[in-house]
């Protein structure tokens, strides 16, 4: 059983009851604080370090071979809670040899940053690991149209991400080994 310990508070001494020594101590503390290094981040000049798992503006990424990963399956468009994504599906041009096993690609891909709530569902749902919420956190514009990121903008923001699968290469190798898919 826990034992209750009654702590007797010492009655305050006279000097403590005047509060003046305590005030002096407080003054010392605040004064010494004046010379401590400042913690302010001078924002536009100094930028914060963005951690890797930061959920910034959603972007489209390419694989290290510079190939478009999105296959325009429209899962992200479907899952997006505020309906910020609008995809116009298209086909891959026949003459693009490095993408010959990809069936589809987005013709246009728009994310409306006035609607996006940065929930990250699109990143979570994407079967091709093509859409990522990265470190861009400041987007602004003068008109509503400017706030809609089109495909070119999304790829510009996204850049390239390391790829673990190289799906198209695998498919290509599989076909040359005789498997149809």
């Amino acid at each position: 059983m826990a034992k209750t310990v009654v702590l007797n508070r010492k009655p305050l001494s006279f000097s403590e009851r005047t509060y003046l020594p305590q005030i002096v101590t407080g003054l010392k503390t605040t004064f010494s604080n004046m010379f401590k290094p400042k913690v302010t981040l001078q924002y536009p000049e100094e930028k914060p370090v963005i951690p890797n798992n930061y959920r910034g503006v959603p972007t489209l990424v390419k694989d290290p071979n510079g190939r478009e990963k999105c296959v325009s399956c429209q899962l992200c468009e479907f899952v997006c809670p505020p309906k910020a994504i609008r995809i116009t599906p298209g086909s891959v041009p026949e003459d693009q040899n490095d993408r010959e096993h990809v069936e589809k690609a987005p013709q246009e891909f728009e994310i409306n940053m006035l609607r996006c709530i940065y929930c990250g569902y699109c990143e979570e749902v994407c079967p091709e690991e093509a859409i990522f919420l990265q470190d861009v956190y400041s987007s602004s514009g003068f008109t509503r149209e400017e706030m809609v990121n089109n495909k070119a903008k999304l790829y510009e923001l996204g850049g390239t991400m390391p790829d673990r699968h190289y799906k198209w290469d695998k498919k290509k190798n599989a076909e040359s080994a005789g498997n149809s898919h």
Binding site: I23, G26, L27, T29, T30, F31, N33, M34, F35, K36, P37, K38, V39, T40, Q42
Partner: protein
Amino acid sequence: MMDWIPQGLWFEVCLKVFFAFMMVGAVMTMAGYSVLAERKVSAWMQGRVGPNRTVLPFFEYIPIFGPLLKKLGIFQPLADGLKFLFKEEIVPGHVNKLYYYLAPLIALVPALTTMTVLPFGQIYWNDGTVSTLALADLEVGILFVFAVSSLGVYGIALAGWSSNSKYSFLGGIRSSAQMISYELAMGLSLLPVFLWVCAPGVTESGLSLSAIANSQAGGPWLFLVQPLSALIFLIALFAETNRLPFDMPESETDLVGGFHTEYGSFKFGIFFVAEYAHIVIGSAIFTVIFLGGWHFLPFMNDPWPSNWIGSLLGVGWFLAKTIFLIFFFIWIRWTLPRFRYDQVMHLGWSKLLPLALANLIVYLLIVTAIDQSTSANF
């Protein structure tokens, strides 16, 4: 003494008006820069950097000096003032218009009036005479200061009442209650000072502020002689200027903005400046009475020569002390939390007032004893 000045009444008047404008300019500038100091010091104490972006055009391009001024926020008060001027002026429909407009003025005018009797230095004339630098070196200087500075509370009470808002109203009530409780302690704490200054053996006497300052030349400063009076006066000064830990009329945590909740734009700006003008004048008066005014250090004669350089250095020294006190006001504000209303009343009535009375009686006895012993010698 002033034979280099052309004679004539109109000239005298013009000169006085000119000096008055200079003085108002100086005090208002100091008030403006106290606001900056407040922002900067509070920032430094909280590990921030404070305002450091405002800069006038072209100043930025001066090497070293320009960026330094910008970093110190030297131009911030200009921007603040302009902001107040250009804000939309909203007068709520439920206010009593006449008093609503009058209140900021009533708050500001006493703050600026007290400075007429404020001595801030000495001027050494060629023929060896010395006169005090002040707009009007009244014989009853300190009484004038007390009389006028307590009028400032009318501005606050009027603002609270005319705003027709519960927050403003509570702020106004608290302010007047606080003023009444601390005015007494303040007055009583100064009586021993005057007793001391007027004691036999001291050549200069009187209620004038310059006489008090001069009585400290080459001798101890009065705050060394009468630490308790100085302490009580300082605490009462904090209460009179509505500074934390006594900012009852404002108490932004429980009264939104206190008496100026309903005020905006320039009218709020006037209240704001009035508060800081009170601080500047209060610091200056404390300097004159307890910190030796424009005299150098305690027990030391002024090291500067008795000419215009000496005058300038004296005024500079006076300003330095005042600025330190302004800093002290700010320092206290960012150190102590606010008292509760009842604690303020308790402190005022049942602590400071008896203490001030006891202090008065003790010094009464001491001064009488000294008086008896010196008169016995004669």
